[in-house]
C-alpha cells in the first residue's frame, strides 16, 4: 500500500510540472500557430535562473522562482518580436527559427554556466508522511504552485478581456482582427504566458533535477507526446494528458521499468492517434 501511495505522489509531482510545460506549449501553438521547438530550452533557462540567483547569488528561493518566471516570459516576448512576428505567415519558418533559437539558448547556457549540470542546494529538506509515503516540501511546493498557476490561467482566459481576446484570436484570427483585437498584442500575451509557464516549471524543479544546458531535449519530447495525446491546441487536453501520461509513466516505471514506461507512453500516443486522430480533446480540422 505504501508503494502505491508513494507512486501516486510521484505521479502527481510529474503531472504538475509536465502540465505547466505542455499548457505553455499549447498556448503558443494555439494563438500563434507556431511549433516552438525551443520550449524545452525555456524550461532550461528557468532552471538556470534559479541556479544563478538562488544557488550562486544566494537570493531567496521564491524570489528566484519569480524572477525565472518573469525573465523567461521576457525571453518569450523577445522571440515573438524578433522571430515569430516577422514569420507569422510562415509557420514552418517559425519552427525552423525556434530550432535556431534553441541552439542559441543552449550555447549561452554553456558559455554562462559550463557544459555540466548545475547544482542547486535544496531550499528545504523537510517532508511529510502520507499513509506511509513520503512527500518532500519541495515536491509539494511544485504541485501546489502548478495548481495555483493553472487555476490563475484558467481564470484569466475565462474572465478577463485579454483572455477573451486570446481565445478569439485562437478561434479565428481574421475575425478577431475585424473586431478590433490586435493580433500583435494577443501574440505577445500568449508568448509571455507560454514561455513564463515553461520557465517557472524549470525554476520550480531546478533543485530536484540536474539542470544542464541540454535538459530541454527530454522535456520537449515528453511535452510533444502530451499535447498530441491531449489534442493539439487544447489547453484542457494538455492538462488531462499530462496527468494521464505522468500516472501511466510513473506506475509502469515503478512496477516494471523505465524503458518499458517509455514504450507504453509512446504506445499510448499511437493508440490515441489511431482511435482519435485529433487527440483526446482536439477539434476536427476545418477543410
Amino acid at each position: 500500500m505504501d508503494l502505491l501511495w508513494q507512486t501516486a505522489i510521484n505521479a502527481m509531482y510529474a503531472a504538475s510540472y509536465m502540465a505547466l510545460i505542455a499548457v505553455g506549449l499549447v498556448m503558443i501553438f494555439g494563438v500563434m500557430g507556431v511549433i516552438n521547438f525551443a520550449h524545452g530550452e525555456l524550461y532550461m533557462v528557468g532552471a538556470y535562473c534559479v541556479v544563478f540567483l538562488y544557488a550562486q547569488e544566494k537570493f531567496p528561493f521564491l524570489l528566484s522562482v519569480a524572477a525565472g518566471l518573469i525573465f523567461v516570459g521576457i525571453v518569450g516576448l523577445l522571440m515573438e518580436r524578433t522571430m515569430f512576428r516577422p514569420l507569422r505567415k510562415n509557420p514552418l519558418g517559425g519552427l525552423i527559427a525556434s530550432i535556431g533559437f534553441l541552439l542559441i539558448l543552449q550555447t549561452l547556457a554553456v558559455l554562462g554556466f559550463g557544459r555540466r549540470m548545475g547544482h542547486v542546494p535544496p531550499p528545504t529538506q523537510g517532508k511529510i508522511e502520507i499513509f506511509g509515503a513520503i512527500l518532500t516540501y519541495q515536491r509539494l511546493f511544485v504541485i501546489v504552485a502548478a495548481i495555483l498557476l493553472l487555476a490563475a490561467l484558467w481564470a484569466f482566459l475565462k474572465r478577463s478581456k485579454f483572455g477573451w481576446a486570446l481565445r478569439a484570436c485562437a478561434q479565428d484570427a481574421e475575425a478577431a482582427s475585424l473586431q478590433g483585437i490586435s493580433m500583435n498584442q494577443t501574440a505577445r500575451i500568449a508568448m509571455f504566458i507560454g514561455a513564463a509557464l515553461a520557465g517557472v516549471a524549470g525554476a520550480l524543479t531546478a533543485p530536484l533535477v540536474s539542470p544542464s544546458p541540454y535538459i530541454g531535449h527530454s522535456i520537449i519530447v515528453t511535452a510533444f507526446i502530451i499535447i498530441i495525446v491531449g489534442g493539439i491546441g487544447s489547453l484542457e487536453g494538455a492538462v488531462i494528458a499530462a496527468v494521464l501520461y505522468a500516472f501511466v509513466h510513473t506506475f509502469v516505471t515503478t512496477f516494471f521499468d523505465g524503458v518499458i514506461a517509455n514504450i507504453v507512453g509512446l504506445a499510448l500516443m499511437f493508440a490515441v492517434l489511431v482511435v482519435r486522430p485529433t487527440g483526446l480533446f482536439g477539434a476536427r480540422e476545418r477543410a
Binding site: 549540470m117 512496477f255 480533446f281
Partner: protein, 434 residues
C-alpha cells in the same frame, strides 16, 4: 476555458515537421579549438570524447587532465622518440556521445589533423568509429573494454577496465560489512549501464549477496528519478547499487534515496563531484558510500606500486587550474594512457600506430596507473587488449573520498570468471553477442 485553440498549422503538418525537426537536431557536431603551438616536431594526439551533454563529465575533465600532462611533458622538452624530442599537441573533438558525430570526428582527426593516436571514452560512440579504425589502422584507446572484440585489433583499453573493476568494491564490502545480505540495482539502459549491471550481479553472487529484484533499467532521458528510487527501495535492500550511472543520474538518485528515507549502504561505480551530493543530502547519509575512483590528493596513491606520475601534484595542479570540484573519475585517466603511449612510442622509436601498439603490448604486461598489470581479456572480449591489475576501493568518510584498499581484479577473475561470463551472457554483453 475554451475547449480548443485553433491551429494555423494543420495537425498533419505539425506531426510531420516535429518529427523532421527532431531528426535535424541530431545533425550537429563540434570541432574544438586545438591546444596549439606550431612546432615542426609536434605529434598530434586526438581526443574524441563527449565535451557536452550528460556524459560530458567523462570527457571534458579528461581533456583538462591531458592539458596538464602535455604542459608537464612539453616543459621537459617533449617525448623522446628515435633520439629526437617531440612536443605533444592534443586535438579535441566533441562527439557529444553520439556514434555519428564520433565517426565524423575520427575522420577529421585522421584525415585533416594527422593525429597518431586517438583517445576515446568509447561505449555508444565506438560503433561509429570501428570501421574507420580498421580501415586506417589507427590506434585508438577506450575507457570501456566492453568495446573490445577480436575485430578491434587496434583498439586498446589500457587504463580503465570498466566495468570489471567494480567487482573490487563489492568484494571489499562483503569482507568488511558482513551484515549486508541483499541488494537492488539500477542503471541507464545503454552500452555503459548493461555490462556494468552484469558485473555487479556476478560480484554480488560471488559475495553471497542476493538481489531483491531484477535490475531496473531506466531511459537515459529520465529527469525525474523518484519512481526509479521508489521501486528500488520497495523491497528494502541492504545495499543500493547505482551501477555505472552518469553523474547527472547519480546525484538525483542519491538525493531521492535520501528524501525517501533510505539509510542503508550505497555502492556505485562513480561518485563524480560527490561534494555536491553531500551538500544535497548530508554527511551522515553519504558516510560509507563505496565507489571506485579516488581523488588524487589521496596519500595512498604515493605507494611505490602506483605508476601514475606525481598523483598528488597532478591533483593540486588540476584543482588550481580547473577547481577541485571539477575533478571527475576520468580527470587522470586519459593522462595515464598518455604515459603508456609515450613509453611505448619511445620504445618503438616511432609514433606510428602499428609500432606503438606492438611496443605497448610487448611481453604481455604493462605499467598501469595503479600498478603493474597484464594484457588480458580473451575470454570476455575475445582479445587480450585490456590492461588489468589492481584497482582502488574508495569510501566516503566525513565527506571526503579515501582509498580503503587496492584489490586485484585478476585474482577475483581467477575465482569467479564463470559467474561473470554467465551474467554477461544473460544480458547479451559478451563480445560475440554485441
Amino acid at each position: 476555458m475554451r475547449k480548443t485553440l485553433d491551429r494555423k498549422l494543420s495537425r498533419r503538418k505539425f506531426l510531420g515537421t516535429t518529427a523532421a525537426s527532431g531528426a535535424a537536431l541530431a545533425a550537429t557536431g563540434t570541432g574544438l579549438s586545438r591546444v596549439s603551438f606550431a612546432a615542426a616536431d609536434t605529434i598530434k594526439i586526438g581526443f574524441l570524447a563527449p565535451f557536452t551533454g550528460p556524459v560530458a563529465a567523462w570527457g571534458k575533465p579528461g581533456y583538462d587532465g591531458c592539458l596538464i600532462w602535455a604542459d608537464w611533458v612539453n616543459a621537459k622538452g617533449g617525448v623522446k622518440i628515435g633520439g629526437k624530442s617531440h612536443k605533444i599537441e592534443f586535438v579535441g573533438y566533441d562527439n557529444e556521445y553520439d556514434a555519428g558525430k564520433a565517426r565524423t570526428g575520427a575522420t577529421k582527426l585522421i584525415k585533416e589533423d594527422g593525429v597518431k593516436f586517438i583517445m576515446m571514452l568509447g561505449g555508444d560512440t565506438w560503433p561509429g568509429v570501428e570501421k574507420i579504425a580498421a580501415r586506417e589502422g589507427m590506434l585508438f584507446s577506450t575507457l570501456l573494454p566492453s568495446d573490445l572484440s577480436p575485430d578491434t585489433k587496434t583498439l586498446v583499453a589500457p587504463c580503465e577496465v570498466h566495468p570489471i573493476y567494480n567487482v573490487t568494491g563489492v568484494e571489499w564490502l562483503a569482507e568488511n560489512k558482513k551484515n549486508l545480505k541483499t541488494a537492488a540495482i539500477c542503471a541507464q539502459d545503454d552500452a555503459l549501464g548493461k555490462p556494468s549491471v552484469a558485473t555487479y550481479l556476478a560480484a554480488f553472487e560471488a559475495a553471497g549477496i542476493k538481489m531483491v529484484d531484477a535490475p531496473l533499467f531506466f531511459d537515459p532521458a529520465t529527469t525525474d528519478f523518484a519512481p526509479v528510487m521508489t521501486k528500488l527501495l520497495a523491497k528494502k535492500p541492504d545495499i543500493l547499487c547505482l551501477d555505472t550511472c552518469y553523474a547527472d543520474y547519480v546525484h538525483p538518485l542519491c538525493e531521492q534515496a535520501f528524501q525517501q528515507g533510505y539509510k542503508g549502504q550505497i555502492i556505485s561505480c562513480t561518485a563524480d563531484f560527490y561534494q555536491k551530493i553531500v551538500e544535497k543530502t548530508s554527511k551522515d547519509f553519504m558516510e560509507g558510500f563505496v565507489f571506485q575512483f579516488p581523488d588524487f590528493d589521496d596519500p595512498a596513491l604515493n605507494a611505490k606500486e602506483v605508476n601514475f606520475v606525481k598523483p598528488n601534484e597532478f591533483y593540486t595542479e588540476y584543482a588550481k587550474r580547473f577547481g577541485a570540484k571539477e575533478w571527475s573519475a576520468v580527470s587522470w585517466e586519459y593522462a595515464s594512457i598518455m604515459d603508456l603511449w609515450a613509453d611505448a612510442a619511445a620504445k618503438a622509436g616511432s609514433a606510428e600506430p602499428g609500432p606503438v601498439l606492438k611496443a605497448m603490448k610487448a611481453g604481455g604486461t604493462g605499467k598501469h596507473a595503479f600498478g603493474d598489470a597484464k594484457w588480458w581479456g580473451k575470454e570476455l572480449f575475445g582479445i587480450d587488449n585490456a590492461l588489468v591489475g589492481n584497482w582502488p576501493v574508495v569510501v566516503i568518510e566525513g565527506g571526503k573520498a579515501k582509498i580503503k584498499a587496492f584489490k586485484s581484479i585478476p585474482a577475483w577473475w581467477d575465482k569467479h570468471s564463470k559467474l561473470m561470463i554467465k551474467h554477461m551472457t544473460a544480458l547479451g554483453q559478451m563480445w560475440n553477442q554485441r
